[in-house]
């Protein structure tokens, strides 16, 4: 059985992604949980950059997710200044069991589907650059692109309105 270097890179990055995802779910302190998600997003960006040949998506992932969205989360967590008793939740065994059961059922369904998806992905560079990506965005997906800009505008307005109003 041949093991090449790219496979090692993939399994290393996949292990890091799963480890940090476990951290998001099971760490009790919200700040550490958010930092674990930050690690997850950064390792995913490395995966895109190294194995999938998508440098633009990797950079956007870092800037938008790790930059903007995580700052949102950390800002709100620190704004609330939760005390220790506030973020500690009681562990409810039946809830964990129910969640694991639903997750297992869902995993079973998807692994049936995924079994048909064979084929080796060529790792490394040689993917698509910004030019190919922007060609599609500004021709076939132009309507979706404009709608997304409207969506973000409305979301910004809505966030301001929600934060101001006394509910």
């Amino acid at each position: 059985m041949m093991i090449n270097a790219w496979d090692v890179v993939f399994f290393f990055l996949a292990g890091l992604i799963l480890l940090s995802a476990l951290g998001v779910v099971f760490i009790r302190h919200p700040v550490y949980s958010a930092l674990s998600l930050l690690a997850n997003l950064c390792v995913t960006a490395i995966l895109y950059l190294s194995l999938m040949g998508a440098p633009f998506i990797a950079m956007v992932q870092i800037i938008v997710y790790a930059g903007a969205i995580m700052v949102f989360f950390l800002f709100v967590i620190m704004l609330m200044n939760l005390s220790k008793g506030e973020y500690q939740e009681r562990a409810v065994p039946w809830r964990l069991l129910l969640g694991l059961g639903a997750a297992a059922l869902f995993a079973f369904q998807i692994f049936i589907l995924a079994g048909e998806w064979r084929g080796v992905l060529s790792p490394g560079a040689g993917g698509f650059g910004v030019k190919a990506l922007s060609h599609f965005i500004f021709t076939r997906y132009i309507l979706a692109f404009e709608l997304v800009s409207v969506l973000i505008f409305v979301a910004a307005l809505g966030a301001v309105a929600l934060a101001k109003k006394k509910l």
Binding site: A54, F72, V76, F111
Partner: protein, 101 residues
């Protein structure tokens, strides 16, 4: 053997499932939001792998749109959580019990 679409699918499904599990077992509103971002990230990995395997760039376009929607969702969600915190004095979702008067 090489790493193929199957391994990427397993990775993305596991990330999605961890997000879904966290959404079900955590009761802190902010951490539930983090888990939703985790689910979106898992879906993004699958889109990227499919785009790579089909030799098409359109999967990457979809990933960009998913990121934009995630940003909008995070802005609205954080505003809702802030407002909820001010009116209820906490962010446990068990406090959102106005409907069961």
């Amino acid at each position: 053997m090489g790493v193929g679409l199957f391994q990427y699918t397993v990775l993305s499904v596991l990330v999605f499932l961890l997000g879904a599990l966290g959404l079900m077992i955590r009761r802190n509103a902010i951490i539930m939001f983090l888990c939703m971002e985790l689910m979106l990230n898992g879906v993004n990995i699958l889109f990227m792998a499919l785009a790579r395997s089909k030799g098409s760039v359109e999967g990457q376009v979809i990933v960009l749109f998913v990121m934009a929607v995630a940003a909008a969702e995070a802005a609205i969600g954080m505003a809702i959580i802030t407002s909820f915190y001010r009116s209820r004095g906490g962010i446990g979702v068990d406090r959102a019990d106005l409907m069961k008067w």
